[in-house]
């Protein structure tokens, strides 16, 4: 069960803090703990006087733990790194392509106007953040 917590806590909890997000330490710890508990559960489930119910329970718990770990590795480590090369993205020193896009009130906003700002001297720069979007 701990491994399920480990799996889901990353996207909902730990992404908020760069320390636990950039390298998911907290989640690795949770999985390590789940692995230890899982191994001891299997040992107890297969000890001599146990019945088949305990064995099945132990195997089920181990299976869920492994599945959660696999989903975590895939969802947090493998998939997020499958990104395009973006070789054509503007490099340092290049001029950023101009554009005009709508803001949240459907008003057109041009890059040129963002750079100019309300008064010419107020704007030292613009930070463009491209993001995937809200699921």
């Amino acid at each position: 069960m701990l491994s399920v917590v480990g799996l889901f806590s990353y996207p909902f909890v730990f992404v908020r803090w760069p320390i636990t997000r950039d390298v998911p330490w907290a989640n690795f710890l949770i999985f390590a703990l789940a692995a230890v508990l899982g191994v001891s559960a299997i040992r107890r489930g297969f000890a001599p006087p146990r019945r088949w119910v305990a064995r099945i329970g132990a195997l089920l718990a181990a299976g869920i733990t492994l599945a959660a770990l696999a989903m975590f590795i895939n969802g947090v480590i493998i998939v997020p790194r499958r990104l395009p090369a973006s070789a054509g993205a503007p490099r340092v020193g290049a001029r950023a392509p101009d554009f005009t896009l709508s803001d949240t009130h459907q008003q057109p906003v041009a890059l040129a106007s963002l750079l100019a700002g309300p008064r010419p001297s107020t704007v030292r720069g613009v930070l463009l953040i491209f993001y995937r979007g809200f699921w």
Partner: protein, 100 residues
């Protein structure tokens, strides 16, 4: 970025976020998350393509940040290797110090 917005204001940096989301989705996001910076919509992916940031499989922008100076020249950029790992505000503010 929202928590560092005052720092960006003081540094004279306008923060603008761009995604494929239509204006109403972005407006919802902004309201829910309390974002006060500008969110722009690129629903047909035209600008995302022009900046070569298209993730074809998902039809969204791959995450990236560009710091432009007042002339529109890229002075710093971050193309993350992992979409969960974004630039920290401190990194950008540091890069912004070099802007005139």
């Amino acid at each position: 970025m929202q928590t560092s917005l005052e720092d960006f204001d003081r540094a004279g940096i306008r923060v603008v976020a761009i995604s494929v989301d239509p204006a109403d989705v972005s407006r919802d996001l902004a309201q829910r998350a309390g974002y006060t910076f500008t969110l722009l919509s690129d629903p047909d992916l035209a600008v995302i393509r022009r900046y070569d940031l298209l993730d074809e499989a998902q039809e969204v922008a791959r995450p990236a940040e560009f710091l432009l100076d007042a002339n529109g020249i890229v002075r710093w950029r971050n193309l993350t290797d992992d979409f969960y790992v974004r630039a920290r505000p401190a990194q950008v503010l540091d890069a912004a110090k070099a802007l005139r």
